[in-house]
Amino acid sequence: MKADERSLGQLMALSQAGDARAHEAVLVASQRWLRRFFAGKIGPEHAEELVQETLLVVHTKRASYDPSRPFLPWLAAIARYRWVDRLREIYRQQSDVYAEPSECIDAEETVSAKLSLDRLMTHLSDGQRTAITLVKIQGLSLADASQACGQSLSLVKMNIHRGLRRLSSLVEED
């Protein structure tokens, strides 16, 4: 059975009161939602780790949820924040990220276009979006990405750097 928005909020309120079954149900539903949310937004080897990190935040920061408000925007805000944080971390470490075909997102559980990570990407310039997608999401090397998109190597690097900074500030502004 899929928990809807309202029941997730009610379950989270019970979690805050220490109800283990409700907490388990919230975490399982959140895990499912987060896997779809991150699909195609980051390499699969990072995706599961990111799901776990976000679940840990859901657990440790559960006091910050207000049961009078919808649950999914709360979860989505945490997920977006962790996602950008992770992209920056990957960028700093210069590690490779590999692509995997993205899973279709269940429309019923999509919060709204407003919340989506894709929407954040639309705020980037074409060059920044292309560079981040090719290198950080599809996992191409800088040189391959440079060839694929026709940007010079240094421009690809600059676009990634500036794009990630922009994403980071967008998450803080929204």
Partner: protein, 210 residues
């Protein structure tokens, strides 16, 4: 069947007290009262306040600082929880109104009418020192509350915590301050509030990230 990671989180579950929006109002209010009490007991309150007939300028600057402190506190509270599309922009308007004080001081400087004694007044250092000390205490309490939440805007929160505690801290001190000029408030009070906001911006984001 939940995986072992989820099971470990469930095993760790304990009841938690929800983040309560009234707590920071209460704590800031009580700390402000304590600060005013301390100011009264050590350096004393203005004579017109004690007599119950405060000068117009005292009412004006107190109102502006309280509005700025309250509006930025409301924003701090709103941004302490994760959420999408949250906007609490009242502090911007309060800051615009408060900026009239330094704007007037600046205009008088441009016109060559800025009283030089204001720059060298010994009370200026006292104003900065006491206002910032109170702001530090208020800011520490507010930061501790925000850390219980999960702010997704730590940089803005740093500014706002500094702004709110700076405004309340300077207000608490101002009840002692004998000055009756807008230029004095525009220079020294603004200086204390801006410094407090800057310290919040520099010192707090690292403490608020999660």
């Amino acid at each position: 069947m939940p995986d072992s990671f989820i099971q470990s989180l469930v095993a760790d579950l304990k009841p938690v007290r929800r983040l309560n929006n009234r707590d920071p109002w209460l704590v800031m209010g009580l700390l402000c009262l304590a600060a005013i009490g301390a100011v009264s007991a050590t350096i004393g309150l203005r004579a017109d306040l004690i007599a119950g007939h405060p000068a117009d300028i005292v009412l004006l600057r107190s109102g502006v600082m309280l509005a700025l402190g309250a509006a930025s506190l409301a924003a701090v509270i709103a941004y302490a929880r994760p959420g999408v599309g949250q906007h609490a922009d009242g502090w911007v308007w309060a800051a615009v109104v408060a900026a009239l004080f330094p704007a007037i001081a600046m205009l008088s400087a441009i016109e060559g009418q800025f009283p030089k004694w204001i720059l060298t007044a010994p009370s200026g250092a006292l104003c900065l020192g006491i206002s910032l000390t109170i702001a530090l205490v208020l800011g520490a309490a507010l930061t501790s509350w925000v850390r219980r939440g999960a702010s997704t805007r730590p940089v803005l929160q740093g500014w706002l915590i500094g702004l709110s505690s700076g405004a309340f801290g300077t207000f608490s001190y101002s009840l002692h301050c004998a000055s009756t000029t807008v230029t004095y408030a525009g220079f020294w009070y603004t200086g204390a509030i801006v410094l407090s906001a800057g310290i919040g911006r520099l010192a707090l984001p690292g403490l608020l990230r999660w």
